[in-house]
Symmetry: C2
Subunit: 232 residues, 2 copies
């Protein structure tokens, strides 16, 4: 039985689809990202992706081994967005802060994609380049290798953790977002003081705040800690 094989490179000019579209890996990834933003995480299906490309669902399988393979490609695309045009300022703390915020913003710009790719290790070029850059900043700052790696892990963990949390909230289907918002308004704001004195006392403050990102603050805490370590 001849197994379907996905070629690694584009050695041959592509034949256009019925609708005249010429496909490439990059085009498919970009289309998938657009579909994710417009239709949510559940809206990205092989059928719909094919349709958006002016092609058949099965055509996607000529380019990717399956949806998981496509998702990893999307994950790497996020890192490409995050790192595009980055330049060192010479100051490791502002470099690291900038890198963290770039990753965070790349996730928030495509929350549905971010949720799908959460915690995957792709080993693909753009993700590897980001790792190389971060380690370079830390080693260039003078951290011994062991410390640099420890801070690298803490930095990545913190960046990804908050990014995934925020993205997961943003990526919820509109219906779920509205249901959750209703729960805040209807449940928390109306709990009786007799059974829930602390929620009742702070209900207005609790419900008022929605989604002012906590990540930048956490990032600064991490950088302060690393600075102390470098001086000490």
């Amino acid at each position: 039985m001849p197994k379907r094989v996905v070629p690694e490179t584009d050695r041959r000019r592509r034949r256009p689809t019925k609708q005249g579209q010429v496909l490439t890996h990059q085009l498919i990834v970009e289309t998938a990202l657009r579909m994710l933003r417009e239709h949510g995480a559940d809206g990205l299906t092989a059928r719909r992706l094919g349709l958006a490309l002016g092609a058949d669902a099965s055509t996607v399988y000529r380019y990717f081994r399956g949806m998981d393979d496509l998702i990893l490609a999307i994950a790497d695309e996020l890192f490409a967005h995050a790192m595009a045009g980055w330049r060192s300022t010479g100051d490791w703390r502002s470099d690291l802060r900038e890198l963290g915020l770039r990753i965070h913003h790349a996730y928030l710009a495509h929350p549905q994609a971010a949720v799908l790719t959460a915690s995957r290790v792709t080993g693909r070029p753009n993700e590897v380049a980001a790792d190389e850059t971060i380690l370079g900043v830390l080693r260039g700052a003078g951290f011994p290798d062991a410390d640099a790696v420890r801070i690298y892990h803490a930095f990545i963990d913190q960046s990804l953790a908050f990014s995934i949390l925020d993205a997961a909230t943003l990526a919820l289907p509109v219906a779920a977002r509205e249901a959750d918002e209703e729960v805040w308004q209807d449940t928390y704001a109306r709990l009786p003081a007799a059974t829930h004195p602390n929620i009742a006392a702070t209900a207005a403050l609790l419900v008022a705040r929605m989604n002012d990102s906590a990540y930048p603050t956490a990032l600064d805490m991490l950088l302060s800690s690393a600075s102390a370590q470098l001086r000490g």
Copy 2:
């Protein structure tokens, strides 16, 4: 067209299934949690859940409005596990640290469930009870309401962010876990120093570390910051 209605309470004795099982909401949630642990997030389907209960898939819809409703019930069950048997020690810092670790451990004990429920607001009893408890600890410590709410949000954000990240890693299908591990070993450990000097120099350190949770450290940083705020 008669819409299927899910009754809120169990006012009537249940009729056993063909296999003699008597169903309750609680039993279904517990069975779903077991299926999640044993078969992964994709392994929880209405058909399989029905089968595991000795019933039909559609029977689940007599108890829950749909899979989303079931997932919210599962989310609340995680909070029940986290809070079971909790008692205040009288010291707000150790109380808060304990609560954070309890939530973290509840997530890690059911990573597949944690991923499904990430960032949902259920407003159901156990989640609300946890919120009431946390706010009670902070207000009892002497924080003014505005500060208590701010720290509550930071605490919850941090706890959930790291829990979701760790759970997402643990919840990956075995195949994906192995693929990611291979990427670490095969890609990062073999990058040439010419193109990736920093990864090449620290490859052994990078690859050696897998999943020593960063959350407790981050939690302690948060508590130190809150302490300073209370004293200042």
